[in-house]
């Protein structure tokens, strides 16, 4: 169990303030936060790479606040992997074991096992510069796991990968976590990643923890405005009626809107719809009529670099977001009629 107690730390002009977190054994814990929230700083604190003014970090029953990184038994995969360019793949993986003077047999065993587990056996003699993004990620993971850490720290491990590779690696990371049972702290700015991977999660914003809980708790019950904004201020639609229409699809009628979506086990009671997944158009868009609606703009508000529109569709007030410049270009006024397209795969069902 990791406990972070009242942690406060300054780097440059930025500070993490008063962080309190408990991460249970064998848990996959995700910290969600926008760019600049301090996610990397937080994970660096766990890794022992920052010195801080106030607060403590406990691992099980030991205060490890002042323990240097090399004695913390952690595995750390930084945002850009930082594979040692002057070593090949195998040497990268064995770096930690050699630094700890492990016997050669242990080193060989460990490399073989990890290479097999992470499917990088054919790469062992490769120069790390020649690896693709996904391969780099696996090697960095193998390097971090080689010293059998008690905690695995992952800093946006998937953000620099293409969509397809990221999808497969999400599955693989979860599988690995199940197999090895290492307590994992994973930071990301990606909502979908968080939702798919987290046992529990925390929302971090401008250096402060806003909410802690399971993804469902946080997404459907954001504790305050900030969290709601961060998890995308979902429009929560309560479904009055759900009927299957065949082909694995159902039609859900929510406050007068009829939405088609894939059939889910366990039935549908609520639908969460993120403002950024609602496309707005002033002219009738071409293409099929699937999940498209007409609505009336009731309110317009700037929100950081975005514009937020409230649009009334049937009985629902939907919140939609547009980049400022695109908004200006469209020249939308209140009381104007607009067309909405809901992005099918971003419908979140509860």
């Amino acid at each position: 169990m990791i406990e972070i107690k009242n942690l406060s730390v300054r780097v440059g002009d930025f500070s993490l303030r008063d962080i309190n977190l408990t991460i249970n054994d064998r848990e996959y814990f995700v910290v969600l936060g926008p760019t600049g929230a301090g996610k990397t700083v937080l994970i660096e604190c766990l890794a022992g790479l920052h010195h801080f003014r106030h607060g403590e970090i406990w691992l099980d029953d030991a205060d490890i606040t002042a323990v240097p990184p090399e004695q913390r038994q952690i595995g750390y995969v930084p945002q850009d992997y930082a594979l040692f360019p002057f070593l090949n793949v195998a040497e990268n993986i064995t770096f930690g074991l050699k630094a700890r003077h492990a016997p050669p047999e242990t080193i060989n065993d460990q490399v073989t096992t990890l290479a097999h587990l992470l499917h990088i056996s054919p790469l062992l003699n490769r120069n790390v510069r020649t690896l693709s993004g996904g391969e780099k990620q696996r090697v960095a993971l193998a390097r971090a796991l080689a010293t059998s850490p008690r905690i695995l720290l992952l800093d946006e491990p998937l953000s620099s990968l293409d969509v397809r590779t990221a999808k497969y690696l999400r599955l693989e990371l979860r599988r690995l976590h199940e197999e090895l049972g290492v307590t994992t702290v994973h930071v990301t700015h990606d909502l979908i990643e968080t939702e798919e991977m987290a046992d529990r999660m925390a929302v971090l914003n401008t250096g402060h923890v806003e909410q802690i809980g399971t993804p469902a708790e946080v997404f459907f019950n954001p504790r305050n405005e900030t969290v709601a904004d961060l998890v995308g201020t979902p429009n929560i639609l309560t479904c009055d009626q759900v009927k299957p229409i065949g082909h694995g699809l159902v039609e859900a009628v929510c406050g007068g809107m009829s939405i088609v979506l894939p059939l889910q086990d366990g039935g549908i009671r609520k639908i969460a719809l993120f403002p950024r997944d609602i496309y707005i158009s002033t002219t009738k868009p071409p293409g099929p009529e699937l999940n498209r609606f007409k609505g009336v703009v009731t309110d317009i508000q700037p929100f950081s670099s975005l514009m937020r529109l409230k649009v009334r569709v049937g009985k629902n007030q939907l919140l939609a977001e547009l980049p400022q410049d695109i908004f200006e270009e469209m020249d939308i006024k209140t009381d104007q009629e607009v067309f909405l397209i809901l992005k099918l795969r971003r419908l979140r069902i509860h």
Binding site: A47, P69, E70, R72, G75, F84, P85, F95, A99
Partner: protein
């Protein structure tokens, strides 16, 4: 860019002119250096040249120069590595003062530096060092100290820019993998800095080979004892023996060329392994 390789190059005149102009400037400077060195040939006399080359005095001077320059360049790099690392990666009060002071040995002429060193060994501390550790004044260790004093500031400047270019992330990762700060520095930062270390080493060594002012002041100019090649040049010029001085200059140039070229070869070969 891949200019000018093909035979039917379809030229764009203004661009060609610009390239020609800059390369001319470079070639002109090269010719200038080669020219002034070659004009020394007018004072070359093959007999003197050969007799100089085989004289025990010059053979001794060559050995002494190479050995002292190698030692002092090695020491300078060794001292400059931690110093440049500290100035590149850490913040501490007075850093900008230190930074400016490190430019001073470049400004002060070597002869003045040598005089200062000479005086230093008259101070109580200097005397203790001379008695307890080694004699420097008018002795071979003095050559090394003089060269070291002149080249260290240069080595620090060169290495600082190498360390500036190294991402601290690598060190941090190695810490989490079980390296202490020192081990991380040795096993990660130094390998990453290898290229810059070699380049700085070559330039520093070259500067040590040519060091004269501080050497002659601190270690004196005693034949077969503290006479390095630059000192030999000076002594022969001072004795109005221009031919012999020129012969020694050519020996110095030849030696440096061979050393520079082979150092470059070795370091690039190694790097591509």
């Amino acid at each position: 860019m891949d200019f000018g390789r093909s035979h039917n190059w379809k030229g764009i005149t203004s661009e060609r002119a610009f390239k020609a102009a800059t390369i001319s400037c470079l070639v002109l400077l090269t010719f200038f250096f080669v020219g002034i060195v070659l004009s020394l040939v007018t004072y070359t006399n093959w007999e003197t040249m050969i007799s100089t080359l085989v004289s025990p005095e010059i053979i001794f001077a060559i050995k002494l120069t190479v050995i002292t320059a190698t030692i002092s360049a090695a020491l300078a790099i060794l001292a400059a590595i931690p110093a440049a690392y500290a100035i590149s990666k850490f913040n501490f009060p007075g850093k900008s003062v230190v930074d400016t002071i490190l430019d001073l040995p470049i400004v002060i002429s070597p002869i003045a530096l040598g005089a200062a060193l000479l005086v230093f060994f008259n101070t109580p501390l200097g005397m203790i060092i001379e008695v307890k550790i080694a004699r420097f004044v008018f002795e071979v260790p003095g050559i090394i100290l003089a060269q070291f004093t002149v080249i260290t500031a240069l080595a620090i400047r060169l290495l600082k820019s190498t360390f500036d270019g190294i991402d601290p992330r690598y060190e941090q990762v190695s810490r989490t993998l079980g390296c202490s700060k020192l081990k991380a520095f040795m096993k990660v930062t130094l390998p990453l800095a290898k290229d810059g270390l070699i380049a700085s080493g070559i330039l520093t060594w070259a500067r040590a080979i040519g060091e004269f002012g501080a050497t002659v002041t601190l270690a004196g100019a005693t034949k077969m004892k503290t006479e390095t090649l630059p000192v030999a040049i000076y002594l022969n010029l001072a004795a109005a023996d221009v031919e012999k001085a020129v012969a020694v200059i050519f020996i110095l140039i030849a030696l440096s060329l061979v050393a520079l070229i082979s150092l470059r070869k070795i370091s690039t070969t190694r790097y591509h392994l």
